[in-house]
Subunit: 231 residues, 2 copies
Protein backbone atom coordinates (compact mmCIF):
# COMPACT_ATOMS: atom_id res chain seq x y z
CA UNK A 1 0.00 0.00 0.00
CA UNK A 2 1.33 3.41 -0.95
CA UNK A 3 1.54 6.28 1.52
CA UNK A 4 -0.72 9.31 1.44
CA UNK A 5 0.43 12.87 0.88
CA UNK A 6 -1.16 15.27 3.37
CA UNK A 7 -1.13 19.04 2.97
CA UNK A 8 -1.65 20.34 6.49
CA UNK A 9 -2.62 23.94 7.18
CA UNK A 10 -1.15 24.91 10.56
CA UNK A 11 -2.69 28.40 10.63
CA UNK A 12 -1.06 31.83 10.64
CA UNK A 13 1.12 31.75 13.75
CA UNK A 14 -0.55 30.87 17.04
CA UNK A 15 -0.07 27.10 17.55
CA UNK A 16 -3.55 27.01 19.11
CA UNK A 17 -5.08 28.02 15.75
CA UNK A 18 -4.46 24.55 14.31
CA UNK A 19 -7.50 22.34 13.75
CA UNK A 20 -8.17 19.06 15.54
CA UNK A 21 -7.93 17.29 12.19
CA UNK A 22 -4.56 18.77 11.32
CA UNK A 23 -3.24 17.87 14.75
CA UNK A 24 -4.51 14.29 14.54
CA UNK A 25 -2.82 13.69 11.18
CA UNK A 26 0.35 15.47 12.26
CA UNK A 27 0.72 13.42 15.42
CA UNK A 28 0.30 10.14 13.56
CA UNK A 29 2.50 10.96 10.56
CA UNK A 30 5.75 9.05 10.25
CA UNK A 31 7.34 11.82 8.23
CA UNK A 32 6.75 15.57 8.42
CA UNK A 33 8.05 17.83 5.64
CA UNK A 34 8.22 21.64 5.49
CA UNK A 35 9.80 24.45 3.52
CA UNK A 36 12.94 26.01 4.98
CA UNK A 37 14.61 29.19 3.76
CA UNK A 38 18.31 29.00 2.91
CA UNK A 39 18.99 30.76 6.24
CA UNK A 40 17.28 27.89 8.06
CA UNK A 41 13.95 29.53 8.92
CA UNK A 42 10.72 27.54 8.65
CA UNK A 43 7.59 29.42 9.67
CA UNK A 44 5.39 26.34 9.34
CA UNK A 45 7.71 24.24 11.50
CA UNK A 46 7.88 26.97 14.11
CA UNK A 47 4.08 27.11 14.34
CA UNK A 48 3.78 23.31 14.61
CA UNK A 49 6.78 22.86 16.91
CA UNK A 50 4.70 22.09 20.04
CA UNK A 51 3.37 19.03 18.20
CA UNK A 52 6.65 17.72 16.77
CA UNK A 53 9.45 15.63 18.18
CA UNK A 54 8.45 12.03 17.61
CA UNK A 55 8.13 12.28 13.81
CA UNK A 56 10.96 12.04 11.32
CA UNK A 57 11.46 15.43 9.65
CA UNK A 58 12.23 16.35 6.07
CA UNK A 59 13.22 20.01 5.65
CA UNK A 60 12.93 21.26 2.07
CA UNK A 61 15.30 24.14 1.41
CA UNK A 62 13.76 26.54 -1.12
CA UNK A 63 15.46 29.73 -2.32
CA UNK A 64 13.16 32.73 -1.69
CA UNK A 65 14.29 34.80 -4.68
CA UNK A 66 11.88 36.52 -7.07
CA UNK A 67 13.65 34.56 -9.79
CA UNK A 68 11.67 31.35 -9.43
CA UNK A 69 14.07 28.99 -11.20
CA UNK A 70 15.95 27.92 -8.08
CA UNK A 71 12.67 27.31 -6.25
CA UNK A 72 11.32 25.13 -9.06
CA UNK A 73 14.46 22.98 -9.01
CA UNK A 74 14.09 22.63 -5.23
CA UNK A 75 10.43 21.58 -5.55
CA UNK A 76 11.40 19.01 -8.21
CA UNK A 77 14.01 17.48 -5.91
CA UNK A 78 11.69 17.51 -2.89
CA UNK A 79 8.91 15.89 -4.91
CA UNK A 80 11.25 13.06 -5.91
CA UNK A 81 12.23 12.51 -2.28
CA UNK A 82 8.62 12.58 -1.06
CA UNK A 83 7.53 10.28 -3.90
CA UNK A 84 10.11 7.71 -2.80
CA UNK A 85 8.68 7.82 0.74
CA UNK A 86 5.10 7.46 -0.55
CA UNK A 87 6.11 4.55 -2.78
CA UNK A 88 7.67 2.90 0.29
CA UNK A 89 4.27 3.11 2.00
CA UNK A 90 4.96 5.98 4.36
CA UNK A 91 2.50 8.85 4.83
CA UNK A 92 4.05 12.29 4.43
CA UNK A 93 2.51 15.35 6.12
CA UNK A 94 3.61 18.64 4.59
CA UNK A 95 3.26 21.54 7.04
CA UNK A 96 1.96 24.78 5.54
CA UNK A 97 1.56 28.13 7.30
CA UNK A 98 -1.98 29.41 6.89
CA UNK A 99 -3.90 27.32 4.37
CA UNK A 100 -2.12 24.91 1.97
CA UNK A 101 -3.92 26.09 -1.18
CA UNK A 102 -4.13 29.83 -0.43
CA UNK A 103 -0.79 31.33 -1.49
CA UNK A 104 0.78 28.14 -0.16
CA UNK A 105 3.96 26.49 -1.37
CA UNK A 106 2.20 23.14 -0.93
CA UNK A 107 0.63 23.88 -4.31
CA UNK A 108 3.97 23.28 -6.05
CA UNK A 109 4.46 19.92 -4.34
CA UNK A 110 0.87 18.94 -5.04
CA UNK A 111 1.23 19.75 -8.73
CA UNK A 112 4.23 17.42 -8.90
CA UNK A 113 2.83 14.60 -6.74
CA UNK A 114 -0.95 14.84 -6.60
CA UNK A 115 -1.89 13.19 -9.86
CA UNK A 116 0.10 10.02 -9.09
CA UNK A 117 -0.47 9.68 -5.34
CA UNK A 118 -3.28 9.66 -2.84
CA UNK A 119 -3.56 13.11 -1.39
CA UNK A 120 -5.62 14.84 1.27
CA UNK A 121 -5.58 18.54 2.08
CA UNK A 122 -6.54 19.86 5.52
CA UNK A 123 -7.52 23.54 5.36
CA UNK A 124 -5.97 26.02 7.77
CA UNK A 125 -6.87 29.39 9.26
CA UNK A 126 -5.73 32.07 6.81
CA UNK A 127 -3.78 35.11 7.99
CA UNK A 128 -6.50 37.47 6.83
CA UNK A 129 -9.31 35.95 8.90
CA UNK A 130 -6.97 35.78 11.91
CA UNK A 131 -6.06 39.42 11.32
CA UNK A 132 -9.71 40.46 11.10
CA UNK A 133 -10.39 38.57 14.32
CA UNK A 134 -7.44 40.23 16.03
CA UNK A 135 -8.58 43.71 14.94
CA UNK A 136 -12.27 42.79 15.46
CA UNK A 137 -12.96 44.11 11.98
CA UNK A 138 -16.03 42.65 10.21
CA UNK A 139 -14.76 41.48 6.81
CA UNK A 140 -17.96 40.89 4.86
CA UNK A 141 -21.66 41.29 5.63
CA UNK A 142 -24.65 40.01 3.69
CA UNK A 143 -23.76 40.37 0.01
CA UNK A 144 -20.57 42.39 0.23
CA UNK A 145 -17.61 41.71 -2.02
CA UNK A 146 -14.06 40.94 -0.92
CA UNK A 147 -10.90 41.14 -2.99
CA UNK A 148 -7.64 39.51 -1.95
CA UNK A 149 -4.46 40.50 -3.71
CA UNK A 150 -0.78 40.86 -2.91
CA UNK A 151 1.36 43.96 -2.67
CA UNK A 152 3.02 43.03 -5.97
CA UNK A 153 -0.16 43.94 -7.84
CA UNK A 154 0.02 47.10 -9.91
CA UNK A 155 -1.14 50.44 -8.53
CA UNK A 156 -4.05 50.31 -10.97
CA UNK A 157 -5.19 46.88 -9.75
CA UNK A 158 -4.95 47.89 -6.11
CA UNK A 159 -6.90 51.11 -6.75
CA UNK A 160 -9.54 49.27 -8.74
CA UNK A 161 -10.05 46.76 -5.93
CA UNK A 162 -10.26 49.50 -3.30
CA UNK A 163 -12.81 51.39 -5.38
CA UNK A 164 -14.99 48.47 -6.49
CA UNK A 165 -15.01 46.09 -3.49
CA UNK A 166 -16.44 46.55 -0.03
CA UNK A 167 -13.45 44.83 1.56
CA UNK A 168 -9.89 44.41 0.34
CA UNK A 169 -7.06 42.35 1.77
CA UNK A 170 -3.53 43.13 0.58
CA UNK A 171 -1.27 40.23 1.54
CA UNK A 172 2.56 40.22 1.88
CA UNK A 173 2.18 43.97 2.31
CA UNK A 174 5.11 45.08 4.46
CA UNK A 175 7.78 45.39 1.77
CA UNK A 176 5.50 47.66 -0.30
CA UNK A 177 3.62 49.50 2.39
CA UNK A 178 5.05 52.92 1.52
CA UNK A 179 3.68 52.47 -1.98
CA UNK A 180 0.29 51.29 -0.73
CA UNK A 181 -0.44 54.03 1.82
CA UNK A 182 -0.92 56.77 -0.83
CA UNK A 183 -3.15 54.41 -2.84
CA UNK A 184 -5.41 53.97 0.22
CA UNK A 185 -5.67 57.78 0.46
CA UNK A 186 -6.34 58.21 -3.26
CA UNK A 187 -9.17 55.67 -3.08
CA UNK A 188 -10.51 57.37 0.07
CA UNK A 189 -10.19 54.10 2.03
CA UNK A 190 -7.33 55.14 4.35
CA UNK A 191 -9.60 55.48 7.41
CA UNK A 192 -11.21 52.11 6.60
CA UNK A 193 -7.90 50.27 6.83
CA UNK A 194 -5.86 48.50 9.50
CA UNK A 195 -2.36 47.08 9.10
CA UNK A 196 -1.09 44.02 10.95
CA UNK A 197 2.29 42.30 11.10
CA UNK A 198 2.96 38.68 12.05
CA UNK A 199 -0.57 37.95 13.24
CA UNK A 200 -0.61 35.46 16.10
CA UNK A 201 3.17 35.44 16.52
CA UNK A 202 4.84 36.67 19.71
CA UNK A 203 6.04 39.63 17.59
CA UNK A 204 2.53 40.52 16.41
CA UNK A 205 1.81 44.21 15.80
CA UNK A 206 -1.47 45.92 14.96
CA UNK A 207 -1.93 49.46 13.66
CA UNK A 208 -5.52 50.67 13.67
CA UNK A 209 -4.26 54.19 12.92
CA UNK A 210 -2.10 54.13 9.81
CA UNK A 211 -0.69 57.59 10.66
CA UNK A 212 1.20 55.87 13.48
CA UNK A 213 3.07 53.52 11.11
CA UNK A 214 6.82 54.16 11.08
CA UNK A 215 8.42 55.03 7.74
CA UNK A 216 10.14 52.32 5.74
CA UNK A 217 9.24 48.79 4.74
CA UNK A 218 7.75 46.12 6.99
CA UNK A 219 8.08 42.33 7.04
CA UNK A 220 6.72 39.90 4.46
CA UNK A 221 4.17 38.46 6.92
CA UNK A 222 1.94 41.50 7.13
CA UNK A 223 -1.27 42.71 5.57
CA UNK A 224 -3.65 45.59 5.09
CA UNK A 225 -7.37 44.98 5.62
CA UNK A 226 -9.81 47.54 4.28
CA UNK A 227 -13.46 47.12 5.28
CA UNK A 228 -16.54 49.30 5.48
CA UNK A 229 -16.83 50.95 8.87
CA UNK A 230 -20.35 51.23 10.24
CA UNK A 231 -21.75 54.02 12.43
Amino acid sequence: VKGILYGIGVGPGDPELITLKALRILERAALVAYIVSPSGTSTARRIASPYLGRQQELPIVVPMSRDRRGALVAYDAAAREIAAQLEAGRDVAVLCEGDPLFYGSFIYLYERLGPQHGCEVVPGITAFTAAAARARLPLTRQDERLAVLTSRSTDEDILAALQSCDSVVIMKAGPARERILPLLKRADRYRDTVYLERVGWDEEQVWEDLDALPAGPGPYFSLFITARRRP
Copy 2:
Protein backbone atom coordinates in the same frame (compact mmCIF):
# COMPACT_ATOMS: atom_id res chain seq x y z
CA VAL B 1 -15.67 41.62 36.86
CA LYS B 2 -17.72 41.60 33.67
CA GLY B 3 -17.87 38.59 31.39
CA ILE B 4 -16.19 38.41 27.99
CA LEU B 5 -18.01 38.01 24.69
CA TYR B 6 -16.37 35.37 22.49
CA GLY B 7 -17.09 34.98 18.79
CA ILE B 8 -16.10 31.40 18.05
CA GLY B 9 -15.61 30.14 14.51
CA VAL B 10 -16.51 26.45 14.44
CA GLY B 11 -15.59 25.89 10.78
CA PRO B 12 -17.75 24.92 7.83
CA GLY B 13 -19.20 21.58 8.87
CA ASP B 14 -16.78 18.87 9.95
CA PRO B 15 -16.50 19.07 13.77
CA GLU B 16 -12.83 18.15 13.42
CA LEU B 17 -12.19 21.44 11.57
CA ILE B 18 -12.50 23.45 14.78
CA THR B 19 -9.32 24.96 16.22
CA LEU B 20 -7.78 24.01 19.55
CA LYS B 21 -8.37 27.58 20.73
CA ALA B 22 -12.07 27.56 19.83
CA LEU B 23 -12.49 24.22 21.57
CA ARG B 24 -10.71 25.38 24.73
CA ILE B 25 -12.92 28.47 25.06
CA LEU B 26 -16.06 26.53 24.16
CA GLU B 27 -15.44 23.84 26.76
CA ARG B 28 -14.86 26.40 29.52
CA ALA B 29 -17.74 28.74 28.66
CA ALA B 30 -20.64 28.92 31.09
CA LEU B 31 -23.05 30.02 28.37
CA VAL B 32 -23.05 29.14 24.67
CA ALA B 33 -25.23 31.15 22.26
CA TYR B 34 -26.06 30.45 18.62
CA ILE B 35 -28.44 31.52 15.88
CA VAL B 36 -31.44 29.27 15.24
CA SER B 37 -33.82 29.53 12.30
CA PRO B 38 -37.53 29.75 13.09
CA SER B 39 -37.80 26.06 12.10
CA GLY B 40 -35.30 25.19 14.84
CA THR B 41 -32.18 24.57 12.76
CA SER B 42 -28.80 25.77 13.98
CA THR B 43 -25.88 24.92 11.71
CA ALA B 44 -23.32 26.25 14.16
CA ARG B 45 -24.76 24.22 17.04
CA ARG B 46 -24.86 21.10 14.89
CA ILE B 47 -21.17 21.48 14.05
CA ALA B 48 -20.19 22.08 17.68
CA SER B 49 -22.55 19.46 19.12
CA PRO B 50 -19.79 16.93 20.00
CA TYR B 51 -18.38 19.56 22.36
CA LEU B 52 -21.61 20.67 24.03
CA GLY B 53 -23.69 19.30 26.87
CA ARG B 54 -22.23 20.75 30.02
CA GLN B 55 -22.75 24.42 29.08
CA GLN B 56 -25.94 26.40 29.43
CA GLU B 57 -27.33 27.20 25.98
CA LEU B 58 -28.94 30.36 24.61
CA PRO B 59 -30.58 29.83 21.21
CA ILE B 60 -31.22 33.08 19.32
CA VAL B 61 -34.12 32.72 16.90
CA VAL B 62 -33.54 34.90 13.84
CA PRO B 63 -35.95 35.10 10.87
CA MET B 64 -34.08 34.24 7.65
CA SER B 65 -36.09 36.51 5.35
CA ARG B 66 -34.54 38.87 2.81
CA ASP B 67 -36.47 41.60 4.56
CA ARG B 68 -33.97 42.25 7.35
CA ARG B 69 -36.26 44.06 9.78
CA GLY B 70 -37.28 40.96 11.74
CA ALA B 71 -33.64 39.87 11.99
CA LEU B 72 -32.53 43.25 13.32
CA VAL B 73 -35.20 43.13 16.03
CA ALA B 74 -34.03 39.63 16.96
CA TYR B 75 -30.39 40.75 17.19
CA ASP B 76 -31.42 43.70 19.38
CA ALA B 77 -33.24 41.37 21.79
CA ALA B 78 -30.41 38.83 21.82
CA ALA B 79 -27.85 41.58 22.47
CA ARG B 80 -29.86 42.74 25.50
CA GLU B 81 -29.98 39.20 26.86
CA ILE B 82 -26.26 38.60 26.28
CA ALA B 83 -25.41 42.00 27.78
CA ALA B 84 -27.24 41.05 30.96
CA GLN B 85 -25.18 37.86 31.19
CA LEU B 86 -21.91 39.75 30.60
CA GLU B 87 -22.86 42.35 33.21
CA ALA B 88 -23.47 39.48 35.63
CA GLY B 89 -19.88 38.36 35.07
CA ARG B 90 -20.53 35.37 32.84
CA ASP B 91 -18.54 34.71 29.67
CA VAL B 92 -20.69 34.12 26.59
CA ALA B 93 -19.36 32.09 23.63
CA VAL B 94 -21.27 32.72 20.40
CA LEU B 95 -20.93 29.81 17.98
CA CYS B 96 -20.49 30.79 14.33
CA GLU B 97 -20.34 28.48 11.34
CA GLY B 98 -17.20 29.18 9.31
CA ASP B 99 -15.52 32.36 10.50
CA PRO B 100 -17.33 34.87 12.76
CA LEU B 101 -16.42 37.97 10.72
CA PHE B 102 -16.68 36.49 7.21
CA TYR B 103 -20.37 36.65 6.25
CA GLY B 104 -21.06 35.78 9.87
CA SER B 105 -24.13 36.77 11.89
CA PHE B 106 -21.78 37.32 14.83
CA ILE B 107 -21.07 40.70 13.23
CA TYR B 108 -24.55 41.95 14.16
CA LEU B 109 -24.12 40.92 17.79
CA TYR B 110 -20.63 42.38 17.91
CA GLU B 111 -21.85 45.72 16.55
CA ARG B 112 -24.39 45.87 19.37
CA LEU B 113 -22.14 44.60 22.18
CA GLY B 114 -18.49 45.04 21.22
CA PRO B 115 -17.98 48.69 22.07
CA GLN B 116 -19.24 48.29 25.65
CA HIS B 117 -17.86 44.84 26.51
CA GLY B 118 -14.64 42.89 26.40
CA CYS B 119 -14.66 40.80 23.25
CA GLU B 120 -12.39 38.22 21.66
CA VAL B 121 -12.90 36.67 18.22
CA VAL B 122 -11.49 33.24 17.36
CA PRO B 123 -11.20 32.79 13.59
CA GLY B 124 -12.62 29.70 11.92
CA ILE B 125 -12.01 27.71 8.76
CA THR B 126 -14.04 29.33 5.99
CA ALA B 127 -16.18 27.23 3.65
CA PHE B 128 -14.19 28.30 0.61
CA THR B 129 -10.81 27.09 1.88
CA ALA B 130 -12.43 23.84 3.04
CA ALA B 131 -14.04 23.50 -0.40
CA ALA B 132 -10.73 24.11 -2.17
CA ALA B 133 -9.09 21.50 0.08
CA ARG B 134 -11.87 19.02 -0.65
CA ALA B 135 -11.59 19.54 -4.41
CA ARG B 136 -7.77 19.84 -4.16
CA LEU B 137 -8.00 23.02 -6.18
CA PRO B 138 -5.17 25.54 -5.70
CA LEU B 139 -6.87 28.85 -4.93
CA THR B 140 -4.08 31.39 -5.33
CA ARG B 141 -0.43 31.16 -6.31
CA GLN B 142 2.29 33.81 -6.01
CA ASP B 143 0.64 37.14 -6.82
CA GLU B 144 -2.74 35.98 -8.07
CA ARG B 145 -5.95 37.80 -7.23
CA LEU B 146 -9.03 36.31 -5.59
CA ALA B 147 -12.53 37.75 -5.50
CA VAL B 148 -15.20 36.53 -3.09
CA LEU B 149 -18.80 37.50 -3.73
CA THR B 150 -22.24 36.06 -3.20
CA SER B 151 -24.77 34.82 -5.70
CA ARG B 152 -26.88 37.93 -5.04
CA SER B 153 -24.33 40.06 -6.89
CA THR B 154 -25.45 41.39 -10.27
CA ASP B 155 -24.59 39.55 -13.48
CA GLU B 156 -22.25 42.41 -14.35
CA ASP B 157 -20.34 42.15 -11.07
CA ILE B 158 -20.02 38.37 -11.36
CA LEU B 159 -18.80 38.64 -14.96
CA ALA B 160 -16.33 41.38 -14.06
CA ALA B 161 -14.87 39.27 -11.25
CA LEU B 162 -14.59 36.19 -13.49
CA GLN B 163 -12.85 38.24 -16.17
CA SER B 164 -10.49 40.26 -14.00
CA CYS B 165 -9.49 37.88 -11.20
CA ASP B 166 -7.47 34.67 -11.32
CA SER B 167 -9.76 33.02 -8.80
CA VAL B 168 -13.37 33.69 -7.89
CA VAL B 169 -15.48 32.26 -5.07
CA ILE B 170 -19.25 32.66 -5.32
CA MET B 171 -20.77 31.96 -1.91
CA LYS B 172 -24.38 31.01 -1.07
CA ALA B 173 -24.55 29.89 -4.68
CA GLY B 174 -27.13 27.11 -4.80
CA PRO B 175 -30.30 29.19 -5.03
CA ALA B 176 -28.88 31.10 -8.03
CA ARG B 177 -26.85 28.44 -9.72
CA GLU B 178 -28.96 28.33 -12.89
CA ARG B 179 -28.27 32.04 -13.33
CA ILE B 180 -24.55 31.61 -12.64
CA LEU B 181 -23.78 28.71 -15.00
CA PRO B 182 -24.30 30.78 -18.19
CA LEU B 183 -22.16 33.56 -16.72
CA LEU B 184 -19.29 31.09 -16.22
CA LYS B 185 -19.62 30.12 -19.89
CA ARG B 186 -19.80 33.71 -21.09
CA ALA B 187 -16.61 34.55 -19.17
CA ASP B 188 -14.95 31.38 -20.54
CA ARG B 189 -14.34 30.11 -16.98
CA TYR B 190 -16.80 27.18 -17.00
CA ARG B 191 -14.05 24.54 -17.27
CA ASP B 192 -12.10 26.27 -14.47
CA THR B 193 -14.95 25.89 -12.00
CA VAL B 194 -16.09 23.36 -9.42
CA TYR B 195 -19.31 23.44 -7.42
CA LEU B 196 -19.67 22.10 -3.89
CA GLU B 197 -22.62 21.73 -1.54
CA ARG B 198 -22.46 21.49 2.26
CA VAL B 199 -18.68 21.06 2.46
CA GLY B 200 -17.67 18.82 5.33
CA TRP B 201 -21.24 17.81 6.20
CA ASP B 202 -22.40 14.21 5.89
CA GLU B 203 -24.49 15.43 2.92
CA GLU B 204 -21.47 16.96 1.14
CA GLN B 205 -21.52 16.88 -2.66
CA VAL B 206 -18.81 17.87 -5.12
CA TRP B 207 -19.20 18.49 -8.85
CA GLU B 208 -15.93 18.82 -10.70
CA ASP B 209 -17.87 18.61 -13.98
CA LEU B 210 -20.58 21.26 -14.04
CA ASP B 211 -22.32 19.49 -16.94
CA ALA B 212 -23.31 16.81 -14.43
CA LEU B 213 -25.22 19.26 -12.20
CA PRO B 214 -28.94 18.54 -12.06
CA ALA B 215 -31.29 21.33 -13.16
CA GLY B 216 -32.90 23.54 -10.56
CA PRO B 217 -31.67 25.38 -7.49
CA GLY B 218 -29.35 23.99 -4.82
CA PRO B 219 -29.03 24.69 -1.09
CA TYR B 220 -27.82 27.91 0.53
CA PHE B 221 -24.64 26.26 1.83
CA SER B 222 -22.94 25.80 -1.51
CA LEU B 223 -20.37 27.58 -3.60
CA PHE B 224 -18.63 27.83 -6.93
CA ILE B 225 -14.83 28.07 -7.01
CA THR B 226 -13.18 29.23 -10.20
CA ALA B 227 -9.39 28.94 -10.35
CA ARG B 228 -6.73 28.82 -13.02
CA ARG B 229 -6.01 25.27 -14.11
CA ARG B 230 -2.40 24.48 -14.84
CA PRO B 231 -1.06 22.01 -17.39
